[in-house]
């Protein structure tokens, strides 16, 4: 295991932020840590990255104990934070060269590696500019590049795309993917459900300081429920009729939305039942504008596990940790 945590606990004053977090991440895989604000995601990352000692529990990262051998851990990890930790007054190249020297790559080694990473992260054109002139996406890329200077075995990304626009997020995702393909183990915290869905091999959902569910994205979705048939009607007055037909193949209770124009019913897999429903709707003259099988989204997973939606608004708030 590249990352192994057992029973991590942390308390700030009267608030127990972590109540025994267990995680394990096999080498070369991505674990997405998902949770609402204040769930304990950042605290977990800070403990694993040796920035914060746990009150109780133990953790090893890249084969070394985070409390006993922090320096050995630090040699093998990269950390990219919620806000891009770069020196605004230095240029992109100077930032990377400085961090490279502090990673003990040597003066020449740091300079060479900085050049490579600027190239790979598409920052060469801005390398000579002070980073205060960089856009949000460029800063995140530089931050990620800085975390990769020493070719870490384990990479911690704490909400790496919070606040970025979609294009920048997708660029960053593909850059993270490249690292994973090269064998790097990644622990990623995020509030974006699609980010976890997109990048993570496995997902751990944290809420109120505990891991309340974990598994592959598919497993989590299955836990929440099976497939559902979604039927959109041209005319809401057909809803009652359509519902009667759909209830014959439903394995649970049906839902309506869109002023009754969209009906959703959970179905057991089986093409026969669906085909039967389709032809019954046609025979009755119900005009259907959309007819689709839908699998639960990460939003459904999140909602059913934590009782909270992973809303986009929540992203603006900073996670309270200290």
């Amino acid at each position: 295991m590249a990352i192994e945590a057992e029973g991590l606990r942390k308390r700030y004053g009267d608030t127990e932020v972590l109540k025994g977090v267990n995680l394990s991440v096999p080498e070369g895989t991505v674990l997405g840590v998902l949770g609402p604000n204040g769930a304990g995601k950042t605290t977990t990352v800070r403990i694993l990255a040796t920035l914060l000692p746990p009150d109780d529990g133990r953790a090893t990262v890249a084969g070394h104990d985070v409390v006993e051998q922090p320096k050995e851990v630090r040699r093998r990890i990269g950390l990219a934070g919620q806000y891009a930790a770069v020196d605004e007054r230095l240029t992109g190249r100077e930032n990377l060269t400085l961090i490279g020297r502090l990673y003990r790559l040597g003066r020449a080694g740091a300079r060479k590696r900085a050049g490579e990473l600027l190239e790979r992260f598409d920052l060469t054109h801005a390398a000579h500019r002070e980073t205060k002139t960089y856009s949000g996406g460029m800063r995140r890329r530089l931050d990620l590049a800085a975390s990769l200077l020493a070719e870490p075995a384990v990479l911690f990304l704490d909400e790496p795309t919070t606040g970025l626009d979609l294009t920048s997020r997708m660029t960053l995702w593909s850059m993270v993917r490249e690292q994973v393909d090269a064998g790097v183990t990644v622990l990623l915290t995020t509030q974006y459900l699609e980010e976890a869905d997109h990048l993570a091999d496995r997902i751990a959902v944290i809420d109120k300081g505990q891991v309340i569910a974990d598994g592959t994205p598919d497993e989590l979705k299955r836990k929440v429920g099976g497939e559902r048939l979604e039927v959109s009607l041209a005319d809401a007055s057909d809803a009652a009729e359509a519902l009667r037909i759909l209830e014959r193949i439903s394995v649970g209770s049906a839902g309506t939305s869109d002023n009754g124009c969209t009906l959703t019913v959970p179905v057991a897999s089986g093409i026969g039942a669906i085909a039967e429903a389709a032809s019954a709707l046609r025979d009755r003259g119900v005009e259907v504008t959309d007819f689709a099988m839908r699998r639960p989204s990460m939003d459904d997973v999140f909602l059913s596990l934590t009782g909270q939606a992973g809303s986009a608004e929540a992203v603006e708030e900073q996670e309270v940790t200290a």
Binding site: R46, A49, T50, L51, L52, K71, R74, R75, I77, L79, G81, Q82, Y83, A84, A85, V86, D87, E88, R89, L90, E94, L98, I99, R101, L102, Y103, R104, E130, A146, Q318, T321, A322
Partner: protein, 263 residues
């Protein structure tokens, strides 16, 4: 040890680049002290007489030098608070670097700035009639005392920055904390007029010790009349009080740094 030196050098390079990028920072360490020399030397000097008919401009130079050493508190505090705020401290702490490197890099760089101030002020001082009378070695020893005080103040500033954390508030708090030290000393006025208890505090104030030490080493007029230990042996008192302060403040700063969280 070699690794520590490498780290400190890399970080000192970072701070030197800041100065190139923000040349306004140089104004604080060069122009401001010059203005102080001129104001104290001419404006106040015209209204004051030093006991024993000493030259007031020679008398006040040591005081102005120490005031400028003191301003290092605010500079270091603001720098550290800035790094904390923008997450750089987190990054540094996740690196396999020496745990003292960040604060040493900060304090050495700020000390280099105060040394630059000293050079500029000494030049202006010479122009307005200040002289050191006891030869090169003792003159340099006086500056050594000043830099020791400056280094101590840089560490003090780092501690304030790590504890206060807010870049906006840190400068005010740093000056509030250092103001009493600066003025409850013999920098600009003789201590004889003070009540006895204040006199004792002022005598043991490291500032007074450094000021008296410099005056002694430079052969400038001194107002020391007390037979108290610090007044009789200012150089030793200066080394002792700065040394003790440094021995307390530096480990406290390191501890605060190692526990610092970005938010």
């Amino acid at each position: 040890m070699g690794e520590l030196v490498d780290d400190v050098m890399a970080l000192t390079g970072r701070h030197m680049r800041h100065i190139i990028r923000v040349p306004e920072k140089l104004i604080g360490v060069t122009i401001a002290p010059v203005v102080m020399v001129l104001i104290f030397g001419y404006l106040f000097g015209s209204a004051m007489t030093v006991p024993g008919n000493g030259n007031y401009r020679e008398y006040i130079m040591a005081g102005i030098f120490t005031m400028v050493m003191f301003s290092a508190v605010g500079t270091s505090a603001a720098g550290v608070a800035d790094d904390l705020k923008n997450g750089l401290v987190d990054r540094f702490r996740s690196l396999p670097m020496s745990r003292y490197a960040v604060l040493l890099g900060r304090t050495f760089s700020d000390l280099a700035m105060t040394a630059l101030s000293c050079v500029v002020m000494a030049a202006v001082g010479l122009l307005i009639g200040w002289r050191a009378h006891h030869g090169l070695l003792k003159t340099l020893a006086g500056f050594g005392l000043l830099l020791l005080l400056g280094f101590t103040m840089c560490w003090f500033g780092a501690l304030i920055g790590l504890v206060v954390r807010s870049p906006e508030a840190v400068n005010t708090i740093a000056s509030l904390m250092t103001m009493p030290f600066a003025f409850l000393s013999n920098s600009f006025v003789p201590l004889d007029g003070l009540p006895r208890w204040m006199q004792v505090m002022a005598e043991w104030n490291p500032i007074s010790a450094v000021v008296s030490g410099c005056r002694q080493l430079w052969g400038n007029p001194s107002t020391t009349v007390s037979d108290a230990l610090p007044a009789q042996h200012p150089v030793i008192t200066a080394l002792l009080t700065c040394g003790v302060l440094l021995a307390v403040v530096a480990p406290l700063s390191s501890r605060a740094y190692n526990r610092a969280a970005a938010h």
